[in-house]
Symmetry: C2
Subunit: 353 residues, 2 copies
């Protein structure tokens, strides 16, 4: 089939790559490659550290389990390296957090995560002496990990084009829809028709479908620091050592599509980081970045399909983690007509009930 993917973030690209591998002709419309949340995301694959539950946990864990093979295949196709670190150190700094984290550890170790090691304060500081002495409890979720999102996105673009996909720099200004069929997509310069349409426009999804997806602004610091160890995740900040730099995330702001960094954001993030890992005092600030998570009222994704189109959005804080499973859901629908149960779980109709 001739397929048009609208959206050049991690979701659109992942789906595009799967469709190309299945033999389809794929064009991808992207307004501004760097605009979306994907490039700015921390890149944590962290359903346990995030404390997820229920169907969303199940979907997240399915996606987490795909990641290893997904990345190997992507590296093979693209010929690019993508930095990945295994394991996340989730820590608690106060009594309430400790209680919640102990519950999480109990819950996940029974259910879905065998590979974890928990530490009381003393052991934790012995094992990870760079942590603030205020730390009370911690756990290494060994199955979690972190991916360098910039390298990931570059590899996805390279893979997409190597597989014969076409990138078109265009804004999908308007879509012509007739009931459950898309007739045409109007770009700024051109019009586009295809046999099938995939929409993955992140925080901008509302424009075309009216689903309640809205931007949740996040600021993230990029610093230079010698720390090379696990990602440290707490309510104060998440601290992500990478090969050449370290990320400190992230604010959560209801500020529309305001691309400005703020002093308050920088203050909160630097406070959070230094109070978690005091040696970050000496880290050199390289950059402050802003991204827009595609949020929804219940913080769960929105999946939808019509006759010749489907929609994958609202991944909020977990777009990177959920890309492989989302691409699998899309591939099964588009290539084999198989409707995943997650179209029900993540149906936009839930917002009308």
């Amino acid at each position: 089939m001739e397929i048009l993917v609208i959206g050049g973030g991690v979701i659109g690209l992942s789906i595009g790559v799967e469709l190309l591998l299945a033999g389809h002709d794929v064009r991808l419309l992207v307004r501004d490659k760097r605009e979306g949340a994907s490039w700015v995301a921390g890149g944590m694959l962290a359903p346990f550290s995030e404390g997820l539950r229920g169907d969303f946990l199940r979907f997240s864990v399915e996606s987490l389990r795909l990641w290893h093979d997904y990345l190997e295949r992507l590296k093979e196709i693209s010929g690019r390296k993508v930095f990945f670190s295994q394991g996340i150190l989730r820590v608690a700094f106060d009594e309430k957090e400790e209680k919640k984290l102990r519950e999480d550890v109990k819950f996940y170790s029974q259910e879905v995560c065998q590979n974890l090691i928990s530490y009381d304060a003393e052991e934790l500081l012995k094992e990870f002496p760079y942590l603030s002495s205020e730390v009370r409890y911690g756990v290494i979720y060994g199955d979690e990990g972190n991916v360098d999102t910039e390298e990931l996105m570059e590899a996805l673009y390279v893979a997409f084009e190597k597989l014969g996909g076409e990138i078109i720099n265009e804004d999908a200004v308007k879509i012509l829809r007739n009931g459950e069929r898309i007739e045409k997509v109007f770009g700024f310069f051109e019009e586009f028709t295809a046999d099938y349409y995939v929409f993955a426009t992140g925080a901008w999804l509302k424009e075309h479908f009216g689903f309640p997806v809205f931007p949740v602004k996040g600021q993230i610091l990029r610093v230079e620091a010698p720390l090379k160890d696990y990602v440290v995740y707490s309510s104060r900040a998440y601290i992500i050592p990478r090969e050449k730099d370290l990320l400190i995330g992230a604010t959560t702001e209801n500020a529309g599509f305001d691309t400005k960094t703020t002093l308050e954001g920088v203050k909160k993030l630097s406070e959070g980081a230094i109070s978690s890992v005091p040696q970050l005092k000496e880290a050199q600030l390289l950059e402050v970045r802003v991204g827009f998570r595609p949020g929804t009222p219940d913080e769960l994704p929105v999946f939808y399909f019509g006759e010749n189109f489907s929609v994958y959005g609202g991944h909020y804080r977990n777009g990177i983690l959920l890309a492989p499973a989302t691409a699998e859901v899309a591939l099964k629908l588009i290539d084999q007509g198989e409707v995943s149960e997650y179209f029900k779980t993540f149906s936009p109709y839930r917002f009308k009930e």
Copy 2:
């Protein structure tokens, strides 16, 4: 005379300009135009806000009184505009600061500063509603002011060259000294001789003369913010609205010539600024800058002269303020052989006593 000035900061340039105006031939060696403290300085002309006393206060006030004419003449010669704002709002946020500031106000109003208005907390918040409600007491020192140091430095360079001065990009690697005479200055590429030598090498003064001048690292934030009013100066931060941006200064660090910005510095400055003027929360961070104040053990300058040379350094936090008076001292010595009393006040021999 043929005069060689070593050092391209505000002190070296100011002296160079005066010497050119007096008819001398002046060459100026500068290793790296942007290296010194001058470009990064906040630009406050603030002897009262700084709480100065004694001979240093006298010298500072003399320099402050020169500033208006100094700037007018500089603008005329250079044809450049230099942003200047009149008056500094000095505020106190706790009891101890309030006590000290009330003493200062009493002292300065009797002695040297007629042009001041003091405010109790309530009046202060009525007059300056953008201040944090924690403010307890404040004063406008009307004779103080603030100069845009980047525009100042650019104007000084333009003026220096318009007056026929020659800028040479060279490092003064070594000087050949014979008792109280300088014989030669060895650059990296060339050697230099002159009838007279002026040394104004800021935080690097120790290299050639062994005087106890050392770098005091300062970080300063440059942000975009709508505030257009007085400079706000307190122990928490100084906040300097300029035409196109706003400066937030400054850390005081004993870190040698370490040019790195730090997360701790950014954190402290943003905390200080937001807790003084809460609306700065929304300010967009544009840049973090680092400079090296030329510090001395007693925080006073070092003036020295020999047969055919003189030295002006150690201006610490007040190099911009003190440039006109320092240039006047130098001009009188070099052009008229008149030895200012300040060579005694700021003699390096005081460190040997």
